[in-house]
């Protein structure tokens, strides 16, 4: 199981939250909302491709709309492996971040 980068983590979680409506534009907007930072199309595209290659995402094609100039949409969904990956990361995260507040407070005392 590959260790996900922060960026990939965020993308996967966003896709999870978006349920059936996850595609490039929506993912981009949601990340902007959470992180208040603008991801470029390019970085997102590359991450999505990579995640797909790892097997964490599956794609499906949706109906074209006029707004897109008549082009179809590519929707992304998490696969089982994707969920497992997220869970693993979560476990790791929890283990490392456990007791963070107490330890941090103790530590600031010594500074």
């Amino acid at each position: 199981m590959k260790i996900l980068t922060r960026h990939e983590e965020i993308v996967l979680l966003t896709i999870l939250r978006l349920k059936d409506k996850a595609y490039l534009v929506t993912i981009k907007d949601m990340i902007k909302k959470y992180m208040d930072r603008d991801q470029s199309f390019g970085t997102l595209y590359v991450s999505l491709k990579r995640l797909k290659r790892y097997g964490y995402l599956s794609e499906s094609v949706g109906a074209p709309t006029a707004k897109r100039g008549g082009k179809a949409v590519k929707y992304y969904r998490l696969t089982r492996d994707g969920i497992t990956a997220l869970k693993t990361i979560r476990k790791l995260h929890n283990a490392i971040w456990d007791d963070f507040s107490e330890i941090a407070d103790e530590y600031t005392e010594t500074l």
């Binding site: 490039l24 199309f41 595209y45 074209p64 897109r68 179809a72």
Partner: protein, 885 residues
Amino acid sequence: MRLDSKNPPGFGLWIIKRIIPDGDSRFFLGDIEESYRENRETKGKLRTFFWFWWQIAKTIPPIIVDNLYRSSMMFKNYFKIALRSISKNKMISLINVFGLATGLACTILIFLFIKDELSYDKFHEKSDEIYRITTNIHNPDGSIESVMGTVSIPHGPALTDFSNEINMCVRTWPLTFIVNRDNFAEDEDVFFADKDFFNMFTFPFINGNAATVLDQQNSAVLSESYAKKYFGDEDPIGKTITILADQSGESNDFIVSGIIIDPPKNSTLTPNIVVPYECLKLFGWGRFMESWDFIPFGSTYIEVNDQNSQKSIIDNYSSFTDQYYTAAFDKMRNNMFGDVKSDKDPLSFGLQKLEDIHLDPRASGATDFTKVFVLSGIAIIILFIASINFIILSVGNAAKRFLEIGIRKVVGAGKKQLIWQFISESNFMTGLAVILGIGIVFVTLPLFNELILKNLTFTDTLSASNLWFIAFLTLFIGVIVGCYPALIMTKPKPVETFKGKYRFGGKNIFTQFLVTTQFVLSIVLLLSAITLGRQINYLIDSDYGFNRENIVYLEMRANNAEVADRLFNLFKDRLSNNDEIISISGSSHRLPRRYVTDRIVYKGNTYMDIGVTFIDHKYLQTLGININEGRDFSPDLSTDIEAVIVNETLVRDLEITDPVGKQIQISDETFNIIGVTDDFHLRELKYGISPAVFMMKPQPGAFRTLRLRYLVFKISPYNTAKTLEAISSTWKELQPGKPINYSFLDENINRMFLQEKRWYNIVAYSSVLSILIACLGIFGLTSLTINKRKKEISIRKVHGASTAKILTLISKDSVKWVLTASFIALPIGYYVMQRWLQNFTYRISLSPIIFMICALAILILVLAATGFQILKAARANPVDSLRNE
């Protein structure tokens, strides 16, 4: 493009489409459009405009990086395939790579040579502002007879005053003197130069200040290795070194004031021992320092202000010559034009760029620019032949892989991908070839250095510009060579490859054309090499008209005529009992001579330059020059002092009948002719036979008195070492403190041909190499053909064909190619060589028989190379190949 404001700018979309793979681009573009329209609705036209282009800018880098990553992964795959295909055809691939490697190595070596030749004198900081003043010598009718790279001594400084385009002027003159320190003495080239020499030319100092180092009258600057030679490990600064002129006897002390780093090899100036120009006066040359009509052998250099200076100086030259040269020209007109009335200027002047000097044949020991040109041509030819090989073999090889390609296509490989695969495969091989090629260069560099008389080091080879050149070359060849098979092989439809419809190699017109071209080029090269070799040998072995072997010249180093005579007699006393010395004689010059402008003989209204040689009475005998009329000089007849012996050409040119007994006027004196010799070559062969005069009366000359300067020994061919030792020890006895300088006549002659031999070597080796590469190609091609026709051969065997018949059948193609190539190459070679031989007055005649033997030899070579393989195939058991169907 519609200007509907709701569409995102088409240009931006076009960029995206270029960098995203086809499959994804539709969706991606749709996403962008959607985003764009949302923004238009919420934020309005202007802000969306900025947003859009900002997005494009941010999008491009990650995608490009990802593309590169992806391609590199693909290339890893391609290389694996390349490796696999190579190991499946080890022999062909080996031949291929090796052939190309050799071709590349050749090209690289030649490139290094050319680069070195073109780099002469470029290391000076101001090299593009330095010019040399040249003198054009005119005929009475105004045409230019010859050009010299030197000019009279006062000319440079006067021109510098006259023209305001010149910054400084430096005169130089390398002369050979004996340099002496604490009893260690040797002949050295002493470089006389004006004070500003180190300001104009860049020779970094180890010790000493460039600007002031030549200020003192008797200062000397040494190069590092010369300092070591004369002073060992001591610090030479402030110490004394003695310079001795053995012609005039003056000896002067010099104090070392500076040490420079050894001058680099690619320099036409060789400042190893530099002394101030004024010191020429100390050695007896003072009377020429102000002479306008004396042209020394040393050059004058000027540094100009800028690029346009040259033109302006040349334009104003006539006013300069009017101001300074009027008297000198009048004098020269009398001397040079004789009785021919002419008001033309006997001299005119020019400026030659410093950087051009080395490649100008007028400078001594230099290359010709045409030769550099020809050499590049040879390099390109070899590379061409090797590349053709590569193409042919790659293509032929690939023919086997049509099946594989078909399957790949069916499975979904894009056409572009396939092309990339082949290009990367061929680049892989080319890369291997380059590495191997550089290895070959490394190994053969010492040998090459010997051939071309240079000293290229391997680190030179790896310099930045060289590496760029090599990288560029590799890529270029790799892509070109890869493209052809790539394009050809990705064309056919997959189904047809299954059916086995596509064959390749062999009968293809393109292949035939390529192979024939290869052989045409190599045969022409070979013919040139052979002709060159024959011509050189002819020149070297030609009969000069006198004995060449076992003649030793010993320079007497006597200060004047009396000393010379005395030394001469002393030597004769000491050495005439030596059994190995057959005869001892003396002369003023060594043969063959460089210049023959000793004296003038008038013929009617004009005059002739003749070469006068001062000799003793045994000279003609020692050198084996035959007297066919009259007699030789006799020691008993004192009147022989006023006598001369001439050669047939002189008699003929002056139209003297019954020369013996007649008188002849040479310059201001009258002489009796007592004998006439057979013609012989006084000078190098190419000058033909010059009129020659021998006399026994010392003559004052323009700068050298005509008197005995050399002892001429005819020694026996046995025990030469002992003989030389005897001569050596006699020298030490009679001329202690002066270094001995002797040379063999035949070696002197051979040395004249050093340059030619160097060229011959290069051309010869190149031609052999190209033939080998071409043969390698045919070898590989034959093996491919055999492979392809294995079944056919087996079937023929089964039907009763004999081994011999099969041999003839398969070799028919190779023979056809070589013969066609010969038919084309022989006439071309003949024509080109004929033109080239016109340059020589004495030349061989081209014999068509030799040419044909050459072609025959190549044919045999090719047959031998391929015959072995064919034989093996012909003898193979037909069952084996017919079995797998």
